[in-house]
């Protein structure tokens, strides 16, 4: 059984077909990258999978279970977490409470070992991403890099089986990018499946074994990073046709 299976997913906004017959499979323990130029439909695809948008047609299976059209919170509780491209922290809450919110979902609650209080568990999640010093600081005082890591901690609080990361390296400096790569590698080693949408190909290629390329709502290529880099169609999409 596959971890995530997307079958002929389609979504249009008026006349614009944002996602057109996209099908792909993610197996357990994989790291899959999704790349593509701006407006290729990557974020829409994520929104469809996580239930924030309803697809026009097609199916989404999580571990063989149909999750198409379920509300976002139910999908999250089934073990499919996501982060956002533009950080969405709870600005008025302390950093630790941001994680506490996710720990109070059905799935988060289930995963609190009986000896630990939610607060302690939240603290552990923050330590994992290196934010424990900021635990009591309101989230609005955090820097962009910290907020990106907070997004990860919040998603991890659900103890997800698969995490969809929307541009985890967006707006990070080289040092922070390096740190993020290490964090993601550790999360992967802990047995979580990752799907990453990213523009920074350099950082992405270090992580993934398989890449999907999207253009105009369709998957135009799929394969190992080295193959993709040589793929004629992909180069055309990114740089334009050779004259």
């Amino acid at each position: 059984m596959h971890m995530l299976e997307v079958e002929k997913l389609k979504k249009s906004f008026g006349g614009l077909v944002a996602v057109n017959n996209v099908s792909f499979i993610v197996d357990e323990g994989e790291i899959v990258g999704i790349i593509g130029p701006n407006g290729a439909g990557k974020t829409t695809l994520f929104n469809l999978i996580t239930g924030f948008l309803k697809p026009d047609s097609g199916r989404i299976l999580l571990r063989g279970e149909d999750i198409t059209g379920l509300p976002p919170y139910k999908i999250a509780n089934k073990g499919l977490a996501r982060t956002f491209q533009i950080v969405r922290p709870f600005r008025h809450l302390p950093t630790i409470a941001n994680v506490l919110v996710a720990l109070q979902s059905h799935r988060g609650k289930r995963r609190i070992e009986w000896i630990k209080t939610p607060e302690r568990k939240a603290m552990e999640m923050l330590e994992d991403v290196g934010l424990s010093d900021m635990a009591l600081e309101p989230a609005e005082n955090l820097s962009h890099g910290d907020l990106k890591r907070l997004e990860i901690a919040r998603a991890m609080a659900l103890e997800p089986e698969i995490i969809l990361l929307d541009e985890p390296f967006g707006g990070l400096n080289p040092v922070e990018t390096e740190y993020m790569i290490k964090s993601l590698q550790r999360i992967h080693l802990d047995g979580h499946t990752l799907v990453i949408v990213e523009h920074k190909l350099h950082a992405l290629m270090k992580l993934v074994k398989r890449v999907l390329v999207m253009h105009n709502g369709e998957v135009i290529a799929e394969g190992a990073p080295e193959e993709i880099a040589k793929n004629k169609k992909v180069i055309e999409v990114y740089l334009g046709k050779a004259i």
């Binding site: 924030f52 976002p72 919170y73 509780n77 969405r88 922290p89 209080t117 607060e119 009591l136």
Partner: protein, 351 residues
């Protein structure tokens, strides 16, 4: 038994930490001061103003709780009115005493809050405000149409809660009853708002989408906020209907705009979405409006509201985050910062 245990634990944590937590000290001192106020030889008219403050503050705190969940309602008078009419109708047609009708009418309020919370799920922000604005207007129309509901005059001659007391004692009893209502509602709402569940409400206020992504059933918590808020506003309404201050009747006045708008005004004045802010706000509002402008300077109604609005504007420009919030934050600065480990240990004991 668990209640006694909880109270004892609260008491010990209160007494051990009261001296090093300035906001707590402040709250404790004001509680004592306000409960001793009637013994300072104040006239009955002042006592009536204080009773009014208690009702207003309860309404404002419950409104503020709703705002903390990201739902700014413009029709909070609805719950006040439903509470009052509920108890009045139960008395008129079934003849039950106040001790039965008040809890029952609070239950009715909870039901109404559930309905309204459910029907408001699809709107938020300014749209929610406009939708909720309509509810008390609709109910006013209903009330004024049916003779069974007393039309304009309302349902009169409801029984007193303490029927046997003499004139002065009656007002004293009313003061303490409403003071307890305000203090207990404020403490309970504060406890909920600053608990782990309360964090979910703030999360919804900050970012509803991200809360959904965290696996939280946002609709459930939004309705829950409506129910909790409506419960306390309804309780205030039910007690008001039996009070001498409101002439012991349920009338369309309960549904008028002032009971929707003054809670908002005082919350903004004291600090919105803080729960303690509206308490500050109500006292500041009444101090300026009733005591200084009306009683001491004897200014007529229209000029008074003009002066009052200008004072409020100046206050809000000076303290845009609210006066209460500014004061409490200053007090919090006096407190020694605690280590995260210490807080975790304390939480660990509770759980």
């Amino acid at each position: 038994m668990p209640l006694i245990k909880y109270l004892r634990k609260t008491y010990t944590s209160f007494t051990t930490r009261i001296y090093d937590v300035p906001p707590r000290m402040f709250a404790f001192l004001s509680l004592i001061m306000l409960s001793l106020l009637p013994f300072m030889g104040i006239p009955i008219t002042t006592l009536q103003v204080l009773i009014r403050i208690n009702f207003m503050a309860t309404l404002a705190v419950s409104w503020d709780f709703l705002v903390r969940s990201g739902q700014a309602s413009l029709g909070h008078a609805l719950f006040f009115g439903v509470g009052a009419y509920g108890t009045a109708l139960l008395f008129k047609y079934l003849g039950y005493p106040p001790f039965i009708t008040i809890p029952l009418s609070v239950l009715i309020c909870v039901g109404i809050a559930l309905l309204i919370g459910f029907s408001c799920l699809r709107v938020k922000g300014p749209y929610l405000a406009i939708v909720t604005f309509a509810f008390p207007l609709v109910l006013t129309g209903v009330v004024k149409y049916f003779p069974e509901l007393g039309k304009d005059a309302g349902i009169k001659n409801l029984p007193r809660i303490f029927p046997t007391l003499a004139y002065t004692e009656r007002w004293l009893a009313e003061y303490y009853l409403t003071f307890a209502l305000m203090a207990i509602s404020a403490i309970i709402l504060y406890k909920i708002a600053y608990s782990k569940t309360g964090a979910i409400f703030v999360a919804i206020l900050d970012d509803e989408l991200a809360t959904k992504a965290c696996g939280i059933n946002v609709s459930k918590y939004r309705i829950m906020a409506f129910i909790i808020s409506g419960l306390f506003a309804g309780l205030a309404g039910a007690i008001a209907a039996h009070s001498d201050l409101f002439m012991r009747r349920a009338s369309p006045i309960y549904l008028s705009a002032q009971y929707s708008l003054i809670p908002i005004l005082v919350s903004v004045l004291g600090g919105m979405a803080t729960i303690y802010g509206p308490l500050f706000g109500t006292y500041i509002y009444t101090l300026i409006d009733s005591f200084i402008l009306k009683e001491m300077l004897n200014i007529d109604d229209w000029t008074r509201s003009l002066i009052f609005v200008s004072i409020v504007l100046v206050l809000l420009i000076k303290w845009p985050r609210g006066i209460g919030r500014t004061i409490v934050e200053k007090l919090e600065d006096l407190e020694e910062p605690r280590e995260i480990e210490e807080i975790l240990k304390e939480k660990g004991k509770k759980g």
